[in-house]
């Protein structure tokens, strides 16, 4: 059988390279797996939903089994979602698994991306895979949004209206995009059908391709690892795909699926029957999108309503600026690896991960970004905070406005200091050993804490990271005495490089000489 397949597919050669491929182990490497598995779960449950869902905006009067909605006009999309929820045995469960998995999928990608960022796993040769992952994150948000809109219930319709209003704010082409997307004026009769094909075919198709490419690249590059005894930039240490990794990863799929199924069984998500079908003139209070749209929601909530009317045109800055900021915050993720590699000028491959503390500026930038993101997420729920904590909406709005600018700066400074402190502690540990917690009284009465020397493993692990020296602009005159032109780019680069690696931006690693001097001087305390 295997021989038969080999004669046609060459599976032996494939297996030779991959069956015993080594995968390193670390808890944070499971984050990507969570994303992959929830994606698979979403596809499985999504296909099931397509068997019952009617992507149509034809209106009917409801007479199904959910009594509170009797006699109400609604689209077939909404009616079929009620049917899935109340008439199809297990239909509600599949809907809930689909939605929970979507929420977890995007949260998983977010955290996975942070792991990759803070450990520097995006460096050469993995920049392209970073971009693939980034695209998956962005497309995941849009897929989630289009799916959320399909049931055509009051909550999701309000979200679509919000989006349409934001589209209208786009200068010059806004009204055209809106008309073309909705097939006329909002809400029109095409939205559900169009979102449906985008949601179940277009975006998942692209995403499936990206996921496969992402995984192929992970295989091809081999996984990164943290430095440690025997783990170098030239090898990968771990256990073979078959059997250990297969069992662990395969098992983990079932764990993730099991947990999501149980959550979906117990906790209702998006009870579309509670509020009724969408009507453009009706709304519920406390309307909230899924979490991954909360950041955009926050931007749009706290932005002052600026509008500029000139020459018969309106520039709707109050909505357009949030749209642009939203885009820029995402673009910042996409381009970061290229900026960092430009600053370091490092063309080597990096397979060893950084501990976040050892890259203080990068870590601080990441935390600053996350802070800005979280502030806006908070802004997206400003009304909820106001009612729950009895605060004035105005105060919260101003807090968010100020915190969006100040928070990241503070976060940057604090994070950098923490990283530097941790680096200093590492250096101390290397030079003076680990604090043992045992206090000894010296003959002349002084109390000292005994420091235990570190093992060779620890010494190595704590000193294995590389430290860059800041790039120099170089002399303005070359070796022949001819004036050298220093471009503005070079100057900027030298400046940034100093900010990343200059004095005060990293703690120099202890040198062998320092270590020897100290250890030979005091002996072992």
């Amino acid at each position: 059988m295997a021989d038969w397949a080999d004669g046609r597919l060459g599976i032996y050669s494939l297996a030779k390279a991959n069956m015993r491929k080594i995968f390193p182990d670390h808890w944070s490497f499971m984050l990507g797996e969570i994303c992959l598995y929830s994606f698979i779960i979403i596809i499985l449950t999504g296909v099931y939903l397509t068997l019952f869902f009617h992507p149509s905006m034809n209106e009917i009067v409801y007479h199904g089994s959910y009594v509170p909605m009797h006699g109400i006009r609604m689209t077939e999309a909404y009616a079929s979602t009620l049917e899935i929820s109340f008439d199809v045995r297990g239909g509600l469960l599949i809907r809930q698994i689909h939605h929970w998995a979507a929420v977890i999928f995007i949260a998983g990608m977010f955290v996975h991306m942070m792991r990759v960022f803070f450990t520097g796993a995006f460096r050469k040769p993995r920049e392209i895979n970073w971009l693939f992952g980034f695209l998956l994150f962005v497309l995941g948000m849009f897929t989630g949004f289009t799916g959320y809109s399909l049931p055509d219930d009051l909550l999701s319709g309000t979200g679509v209206r919000f989006t349409q209003g934001a589209i209208l704010a786009t200068p010059v082409v806004g009204t055209y995009i809106s008309m073309f997307l909705f097939g006329g004026e909002f809400p029109g009769h095409d939205m559900v059908a169009r979102f449906y094909s985008i949601h179940i075919l277009l975006l998942p198709g692209i995403m499936l391709g990206l996921v496969v490419a992402h995984l192929i690249l992970v295989f091809y590059h081999k996984h990164t690892q943290f430095p440690g005894p025997g783990r170098t930039n030239k090898n990968v240490v771990g256990m073979p795909l078959l059997p250990v990794y297969m069992a662990k990863a395969g098992g983990f799929f079932f764990l993730v699926f099991g947990v999501i199924a149980a959550i979906a069984g117990m906790f209702t998500i998006n009870p579309v029957w509670a509020l009724g079908p969408y009507r453009p003139d009706q709304v519920s209070t406390g309307a909230q999108p899924d979490w991954y749209m909360g950041f955009a929601e926050g931007l749009i909530r706290v932005m002052p309503g600026w509008e500029i009317n000139l020459w018969g045109h309106t520039l709707v800055l109050g909505v357009f600026i949030p749209l642009v900021v939203f885009g820029l915050m995402l673009v910042a993720i996409a381009v970061y690896p290229f900026i960092e590699s430009w600053i370091t000028g490092d063309k080597r491959e990096h397979h060893l991960l950084d501990r976040p503390r050892n890259a203080p500026t990068r870590t601080a930038l990441g935390v600053a970004w996350v802070t800005g993101y979280m502030v806006m997420l908070l802004g997206g729920g400003n009304d909820i905070f106001a009612t729950h904590f009895h605060m004035s909406l105005n105060a919260i709005t101003w807090f968010v406005r100020i915190a969006f600018f100040v928070g990241p700066v503070v976060a940057f400074i604090v994070t950098k200091r923490i990283c530097m402190g941790l680096q200093r502690r590492d250096a101390d540990k290397v030079l003076h050993g680990r604090e043992s917690g045992i206090i000894k009284r010296l003959p002349h009465g002084e109390f000292v804490e005994i420091h235990e020397p570190l093992s060779q493993d620890q010494l190595y692990s704590l000193t294995a990271h590389e430290q860059y020296t800041p790039a120099e602009v170089g002399p303005s005159v070359d070796e022949n005495g001819v004036e050298r032109k220093v471009t503005r780019g070079q100057k900027l680069r030298a400046k940034l490089s100093k900010g990343y690696y200059g004095e005060g931006n990293q703690v120099p690693k202890p040198t062998a000489e320092e270590y020897k001097e100290i250890t030979s001087g005091h002996g072992h305390h």
């Binding site: 809930q96 008309m179 006329g184 240490v237 069992a247 764990l255």
Partner: protein
């Protein structure tokens, strides 16, 4: 690599000072290499291994039982049965039982596999070499040469006419696809500038579906209205109401601060678009003392006693007002369309 896995001989207490001194003499931070494998209890003690085996088998068996439970729940519970379960409240029996049994069935497979991998499968760490991704200069040179050969044989370089027309053709052909997209929707034209309101159209109460008389609008209440002739079962109802939705309140004329607003009112009854000028949510909350209305979406607040100007929140301009009067039969009627587009602002709005 956690500290428990550090091999004994590398622990500080085990370190032979003489040996350590030698290593330190060369490079105190040298890579000591992969630590030796440390056996697990299951590697040494067959009884422990047997226990692990039984645990794994038990988990897989539990999964089978849960699947049977799933099928049983599927058959047993009517789809509309509700049960009270603390602390979840009243939940669908089918949904809860199916979710939990499926969850257990899946989880136990996963737990079994992971336990098996952790306790019984070999846990020897192995090192694999990495190979440079970049090709060697020879390979690069060969590929470039092959490419040059191919390009030469295609004569594309010598016959620019072919090259240029080909690029032209390839660049143009996607235009057909773009042109087809034109059918996605109509042009905006002036569509966003008009609603169904017009001179003489009566204001119909949204709740009762009856024409409104001035005396129906009492101080302190918010009334919603639609234009006469628009019915809920109209095919275009949603598209129309998205722009036509009207909000009516009665304010003592002396409390109306905006002169223009007063002119367009009928004895203090004022009618404004219900669609928020921010991004288009319908406004729904009214504070009768202050005559403020609030959009629940992003909390834009408008002062209906002062031209519905924005007093808080992200909306960029006031709500458009509809000029109203009373017709011969004593019903409220519109005296024209809104003077400006309703809803969110857009480029052509001006």
């Amino acid at each position: 690599m956690s500290s428990q896995e550090i091999p004994e001989k590398n622990l500080p207490s085990e370190q032979d000072t003489a040996h350590g001194a030698v290593a330190v003499a060369e490079d105190p931070f040298a890579d000591p290499g992969l630590p030796p494998h440390k056996p697990r209890i299951q590697d040494i003690d067959e009884r422990a291994a047997k226990r692990s085996e039984r645990t794994v088998a038990l988990l897989f068996t539990l999964s089978m039982l849960a699947t049977i439970g799933f099928i049983a729940s599927f058959v047993a519970f009517p789809v509309d049965k509700l049960v009270y379960v603390w602390p979840l409240g009243h939940v669908s029996a089918t949904n809860l039982s199916l979710g939990l049994t499926l969850g257990i069935a899946l989880f136990c497979i996963g737990a079994g596999a992971v336990h098996w991998a952790r306790t019984l499968m070999s846990d020897h760490e192995v090192a694999d070499d990495r190979h440079a991704i970049e090709a060697t200069p020879e390979v690069k040179a060969k590929v470039m040469a092959d490419f040059a050969d191919g390009a030469r044989e295609s004569v594309i370089g010598r016959r620019p006419l072919i090259r240029n027309t080909m690029f032209g053709a390839l660049a143009m052909v996607p235009l057909s696809g773009v042109v087809l997209l034109r059918e996605l929707g109509p042009l905006p034209e002036k569509k966003l500038f008009h609603t169904s309101w017009d001179k003489g159209k009566q204001l119909i109460n949204m709740n009762t579906n009856e024409p409104l008389r001035p005396e129906d609008v009492v101080v302190g209440s918010l009334t919603f209205a639609k234009p006469e002739g628009l019915e809920e079962d109209d095919h275009e109802f949603n598209n129309k109401i998205a722009k036509d939705a009207l909000m009516i309140v009665r304010i003592q004329p002396e409390d109306i601060k905006d002169k223009h607003e007063l002119e367009w009112s009928h004895e203090g009854i004022v009618a404004f678009s219900k669609i928020c000028t921010h991004v288009g949510c319908p406004i729904s909350l009214y504070e009768q003392q202050t005559h403020h209305v609030l959009c629940p979406c992003h909390q834009s607040t408008f002062d209906l006693s002062d031209g519905a100007r924005v007093i808080f929140g992200p909306a960029g301009h006031a709500l458009p007002q509809l000029r109203i009067g009373v017709n011969n039969e004593g019903f409220l009627e519109a005296l024209g369309d809104f003077p400006e587009p309703v809803g969110p602002a857009f480029w052509e709005r001006g």
